[in-house]
């Protein structure tokens, strides 16, 4: 059937397609390199290559170029691209805004659909983050405090503040002057300080510093010294008392007083944490008001986390207030891992929040996790070549074999080496 032993010049026989030179069966050549040919066709191709030097060279060139291309790394998109795109979508009629791209302007569309569940994507938000972070970092540096706890508290507080600030800038969005204030940094800072005040106060009295922005999460996790706690919880809108959601309205009245407080604190940010270097200020009040998920959603979260990370739930005695997972994540793979968590968050519509401290009533359990941390698996992300809407798959590996209970003592864990961070995933139900 197949032209075994035929030389090229012996004319077409049987399946003659491979008797021609390689360009005569170029699609098959591509399939050949992918290993997709039927055994018969593959044999016929190899037969031809063995007898035709020119085609063998060309096939080798194909392979070299293909592997060169396939090994070429992707490039990260520009950081501001998302803001530009979503900003343009959400605020198409921004007064005084430049046309989004050269040469033509998309017709503005009515925006009501998008403004229903507001999350502002105004460039101003980014400016606020940078400015506030700048202030706090500066203050911390000046204070020459080597107390890590207070440092973390300081920076996470700032992040919460900016979170709230962005909620506040919903109003800024309505006021044209604010949104166009790209250059007027001073104005922005004032606005930020104003909208920040309420939440900062709240942070100090009630809730613990919570991070929701993926990029801020990565930064916080990279510098985390201890375990970090990421919770899946109900969206603020579904919870009985949304933390900070409606607060913006109520607090505008006390804005003036509070703003002064905050600005002072920001300005003297260096001295405050240093003075109270004994520990985070808010330890005595409940650190977090849990917004619990409905059982159905919680189950969905659990099964997706388990399925996609291959992690197994921690035993009940190590569970922090509900189903709990734990894993070491390499600093280099934080993006991949958070991508996964955020995609679960979006598909099940939950809230996702990062805290650097356990809830107050869970301190003990959290301590036990730390004690047993040699048993926590390392999670590894693999790039999935294609079809790859999800770009990564995950596997886990354990430091201590599961059957050696109690053998974990003295094992050096990857977080001690500073390459990984221990992440505890909580499902609030």
């Amino acid at each position: 059937m197949k032209p075994r032993g035929n030389s090229l010049d012996s004319g077409p026989t049987g399946s003659g397609k491979f008797n021609r030179h390689i360009e005569g069966w170029d699609a098959y050549a591509v399939d050949y390199l992918d290993g997709r040919l039927s055994p018969d066709d593959k044999a016929a191709v190899e037969q031809h290559l063995a007898e035709c030097q020119a085609c063998a060279v060309r096939m080798a060139a194909q392979q070299r170029v293909a592997s060169l291309l396939q090994r070429t790394p992707d490039v990260e998109p520009p950081e501001d691209l998302e803001d530009r795109i979503l900003g343009e979508l959400l605020f198409p009629m921004r007064p005084g805004a430049e046309p989004a791209f050269r040469g033509r302007k998309l017709e503005p569309q009515p925006k009501p659909t998008w403004s229903r569940r507001f999350r502002p994507w105004i460039p101003v938000t980014a400016v606020v983050v940078v400015v506030l972070m700048g202030i706090v970092t500066f203050g911390v540096l000046k204070s020459n405090s080597n107390n890590l706890a207070s440092r973390q508290e300081a920076s996470t507080t700032a992040q919460v503040a900016t979170d709230r600030a962005s909620a506040g800038s919903t109003f800024a969005g309505a006021a044209p002057t604010m949104t166009t204030a790209g250059a007027a940094v001073t104005t922005t800072v004032v606005a930020a300080a104003t909208t920040t005040s309420a939440s900062t106060k709240q942070t100090l009295t009630g809730a613990q510093a919570v991070i929701r922005d993926p990029k801020q999460m990565v930064r916080a996790l990279e510098s985390a010294a201890g375990p970090a706690y990421i919770s899946f919880q109900a969206l603020p809108s579904e919870a009985g008392t949304p933390p900070g959601g409606t607060a913006a309205d109520d607090t505008t009245t006390e804005t003036n007083v509070a703003a002064t407080e905050t600005t002072q604190e920001a300005a003297t940010g260096g001295t405050a944490p240093a003075g109270s270097s004994a520990g985070p200020p808010a330890t005595e009040t409940p650190l977090y008001t849990a917004d619990t998920l409905s059982p159905a959603k919680a189950d969905e979260v659990i099964s997706q986390v388990a399925a996609f990370t291959t992690l197994e739930q921690l035993p009940p005695e190590l569970s922090v207030g509900g189903p709990t997972f734990a894993a070491y994540v390499s600093h280099k793979q934080l993006n991949a891992f958070l991508d996964l968590l955020f995609s679960i968050k979006a598909s099940i519509q939950t809230d996702l929040a990062l805290q650097m401290y356990p809830d107050d009533d869970a301190t003990e359990t959290a301590g036990m996790i730390v004690q047993n941390k040699a048993f926590v698996p390392v999670i590894i992300a693999h790039v999935v070549p294609q079809p790859a809407v999800n770009r990564y798959s995950f596997t886990t590996s354990t430091l201590v074999p599961a059957n050696q209970e109690g053998a974990g003592a003295g094992v050096a864990t990857p977080d001690d080496e500073g390459t990984h961070v221990l992440i505890v995933i909580l499902v609030r139900r």
């Binding site: 699609a27 170029v65 388990a306």
Partner: protein
């Protein structure tokens, strides 16, 4: 647990994993919109980057495509994967930009000229020399060689070899037959091999071999070391 994982994975792969997010986004859920963006930003941006050749235009193309897609989510009927639909918009935006940069019409040659990579007539100068490698991630010769390819070939090889799209999806994105995609990839690789061999890459040059069959220095084929200039 493993069984659950497999079942979930299978079921997610069978249907379009973006459908649910698209539905939420249509209802005005900005989180879903953001997640849709995040799931596709990297491939969209890289498709734009490798086909238009420089990061500035690539960002414009990606932005234009995402905005167009997100504003027209209602016209996505689910007849293809969302990813296919989205990347078709990106390809169109990239073609538009290239066309704006270069006055000559190109449709004819894309569709008809399968005789080989286009000559100098279709060279698209990026006009910006010395792109920071951190912005680009590939060597100058490879980028230049890619940009010298006929656009039809370049889009095929970028989609499949660089970005890992299955041939079938690439065919759907570009609106041609799967066999055509493979054929274009073959010719694109061959042209790239020649261009790279010319500037000293350790790649056997098909052109020289074709001209001087039998006079090959067989050693070169055997030397499969990993250098790449």
């Amino acid at each position: 647990m493993r069984a659950v994982a497999e079942r979930l994975n299978t079921s997610l792969h069978v249907r379009d994993p973006d459908l649910f997010l698209v539905r939420l986004a249509r209802e005005g859920d900005t989180d879903a919109l953001s997640e849709l963006y995040r799931r596709h930003e990297r491939r969209v941006y890289n498709l734009a980057l490798r086909t238009v050749g420089n990061p500035w235009d690539a960002a414009d193309v990606a932005q234009e495509a995402f905005i167009k897609a997100f504003r027209n989510l209602d016209s996505f009927k689910g007849e293809s994967l969302f990813s296919t639909w989205l990347h078709r918009i990106v390809v169109n935006a990239a073609y538009d930009l290239l066309r704006r940069q270069r006055p000559e019409p190109i449709d004819e040659e894309i569709l008809n000229d399968l005789s080989g990579p286009a000559g100098p007539a279709s060279v698209v100068g990026s006009g910006r020399e010395g792109i920071d490698p951190a912005l680009d991630g590939i060597s100058d010769p490879l980028r230049d060689a890619l940009m010298r390819l006929n656009e039809g070939f370049r889009f095929a090889v970028v989609l499949c070899d660089l970005l890992g799209f299955p041939y079938g999806e690439a065919a759907e994105i570009l609106g041609v037959q799967e066999g055509t995609i493979k054929s274009r990839i073959f010719r694109a690789r061959e042209a790239l091999a020649e261009a790279l061999a010319d500037v000293g890459y350790d790649i056997p040059s098909p052109r020289n071999r074709r001209r001087a069959e039998g006079v090959t220095s067989a050693g070169e084929i055997g030397e499969q070391d990993e250098t790449e200039g």
